[in-house]
């Protein structure tokens, strides 16, 4: 039987984490995502599944608790919002360098600095280009509904373990704070057996000691390590995910993820009802990015527009994918303000005007 609930996106992440058999959550309060830890604490997860939930002294501490715990092969995660995620950048770079699986949830708010607590998508660059130092990449998932907030927890861990790489759910205050109907996944068992080829659970007689590190004092080794990472990142492309809405006959294409995609969905409906052939491509994975699909689409549509709650970040990846084939416009709001479907529609009519 389906288990249906009405939940906030943040609560869905928390409930899904318990059900995914997550072993540990380490976090620090920050609006608009504090409900994640609050919900967990209320659920007594140590009784429900034995999951550990700990309020750390800071985001720096939480990401490093995750770093430590991830080395043992267990499923561990943290969540925060923009300023807190910035504080985690060193730790994230370490985790990526050490090739550890874990899940980081960023419920983005408007920046820069303390900014506002209203929704934003201006941490795209930080997430996909690497806010930390060095040539690393995250797996970045962009939920556009409360359902996906729940579903991407399990998916995030699956990909994180598949590639031994940190995964991030890049959400925002809108998806985090809104409630929707959500079908809850069944309870998974917490994993009891660990892949002894790399985890640090105590060296036994039958294997060599395992070491978790991102350091190679010898630059040749670090070079090799980086090449290996780059190959891994390339291989991640096989897991690219996106949704196409009304694309088959579209003359013009909107590209949007997360909350902006939801807004654009309505814009597409409105435009279609006016007889305008607009489609929407919604990346579900931002890293890997659906560049190949966009390149393909660029042979068919007349122009594209990236719509995002930022001054123009994802649009660069759209342009890189399209490589000059068709014009790529950008439309966005900055600093925590949200565009309405009508705003997007009038921009669409303005920019794509030649087509109608």
């Amino acid at each position: 039987m389906k288990e249906i609930a009405l939940m906030k996106g943040n609560e869905a992440v928390a409930e899904a984490a318990i059900r995914a058999g997550v072993d540990g959550y380490f976090g620090y309060p920050i609006t608009p995502q504090s409900e994640v830890m609050e919900y967990l604490m209320l659920q007594r997860p140590e009784e429900r599944t034995g999951m550990v939930v700990l309020q750390a002294e800071s985001e720096v501490a939480s990401i490093n608790m995750v770093y430590g715990a991830a080395g043992t092969g267990k499923k561990v995660m943290t969540s925060s919002s923009s300023p807190g995620i910035s504080l985690m950048q060193e730790g994230i770079s370490y985790i990526a360098g050490a090739e550890l699986p874990c899940l980081i949830v960023n419920v983005v708010r408007g920046g820069p600095g303390l900014g506002t607590i209203q929704p934003s998508q201006a941490d795209y660059f930080q997430s996909v280009k690497g806010g930390g130092h060095g040539d690393y990449r995250l797996i970045v998932l962009a939920p556009a509904s409360v359902q996906e907030m729940a579903d991407f927890v399990d998916l995030g861990f699956e990909l994180a373990f598949k590639y031994r790489n940190p995964a991030m759910i890049l959400s925002d205050g809108l998806i985090g704070q809104m409630m929707e109907k959500v079908e809850l996944p069944p309870q998974k068992e917490r994993v009891k057996e660990f892949d002894q080829s790399w985890v640090i659970t105590g060296k036994t007689q039958d294997r060599e000691r395992n070491i978790i590190t991102s350091l190679n004092l010898d630059p040749d080794l670090q070079y090799e390590h980086n090449l290996k990472l780059q190959e891994k990142y390339k291989s991640m492309e096989q897991d690219v995910m996106f949704e196409k809405i009304d694309c088959d006959d579209a003359d013009y294409l909107l590209v949007a993820y997360g909350s902006s995609a939801r807004i654009c969905q309505k814009t597409v409906d409105m435009a279609r009802s006016k007889g305008k052939k607009i489609g929407l491509l919604r990346p579900k994975t931002l890293d890997p990015f659906p560049s190949a699909e966009l390149a393909k689409m660029s042979r068919r549509v007349k122009a594209m527009m990236a719509v995002e709650l930022s001054a123009g970040q994802m649009v660069e990846d759209v342009r890189l994918a399209v490589n000059g084939k068709v014009p790529v416009y950008h439309y966005g709001m900055v600093g925590g303000k949200i565009h309405s479907p009508d705003d997007v529609l009038s921009e669409v009519e303005d920019k794509f005007i030649g087509g109608y």
Partner: protein, 260 residues
């Protein structure tokens, strides 16, 4: 007696523990890091807990401690070893978890993580090597650098007025209810080495009790940073460091040891 008759398997009274790997230590000649490494591994060997021990290497000269200790280990970000240890121990409460940290790591950048792990009473061991300097990066001033002591960022001697006085974090965390055992030792002479080893053993044994943090500070030398020969640095250490950082137990079984 003929030496050949003495050097026989059955007469062996001391050998390097096999839990130290074959790798040559990366430390400077005479540096106490090596001795402390070995003592920790001797304790793990004697307790027979290799398969249940997880160590955390810091950022500092001991950054590749995992090359020398034959146990599962994780390298930590600078100062964050207590956070890593917390993450691990919370998920694996039955394992022995320890951190190995320098003074820059533990008492400067890692202050918050040290204090909060101690305050929460994480059931871990913290081995804290206080050599009064940042060894790894070339001898810069540490929080523990003595007043007047020269370093590459206090080339005219530490001036407490502008740089702050040396910071005794060990005494501070001993005040917290979350610490169960806190002691200060050294490894420059046979007597101190034997005492230091007992303290390390204690720190591991305590993890069976689940009563909080055991922190052992080792006042140690950094002859490269101090620009002295190893033996001179040990003498200088006794005469200067020990005055400010006195040896002995600070907290035992959760109770502060008063007087001396």
């Amino acid at each position: 007696m003929d030496i050949k008759q003495i050097i026989k398997e059955e007469n062996q009274v001391y050998r390097r523990t096999p839990l130290m790997t074959e790798a040559t230590l990366s430390y400077c000649p005479g540096c106490g890091h090596g001795t402390i490494h070995r003592l920790i591994m001797e304790v793990v060997e004697e307790m027979g807990i290799q398969s249940d021990t997880i160590g955390i290497a810091p950022v500092g000269c001991a950054v590749i401690a995992y090359d020398f200790m034959d146990i599962d280990m994780s390298q930590a970000a600078h100062g964050r070893a207590p956070a890593l240890a917390t993450g691990i121990k919370r998920l694996w409460p039955e394992k022995y978890v320890f951190t190995y940290q320098g003074d820059g790591d533990l008492a400067a950048i890692g202050t918050a993580e040290t204090i909060h792990a101690c305050n929460r009473g994480e059931n871990i061991a913290i081995f804290f090597v206080n050599n009064g300097i940042y060894g790894m990066t070339g001898g810069q001033m540490a929080p523990t650098t003595l007043e007047g002591m020269k370093s590459s960022t206090s080339p005219y001697g530490r001036n407490s007025e502008t740089m702050g006085p040396p910071y005794k974090i060990t005494e501070m965390v001993a005040q917290l209810p979350g610490t169960y055992y806190v002691a200060r030792h050294a490894v420059h002479k046979p007597g101190p080495v034997r005492k230091a080893k007992k303290a390390i053993r204690q720190a591991f044994e305590n993890q069976k009790l689940n009563k909080g943090v055991s922190l052992v500070e080792f006042v140690s030398n950094c002859n490269s940073g101090w620009k002295m020969t190893p033996n001179d640095s040990n003498i200088w250490m006794e005469e200067n460091m020990f005055k400010f950082y006195p040896m002995g137990d600070i907290k035992v079984e959760g109770k502060l040891v008063n007087g001396d």
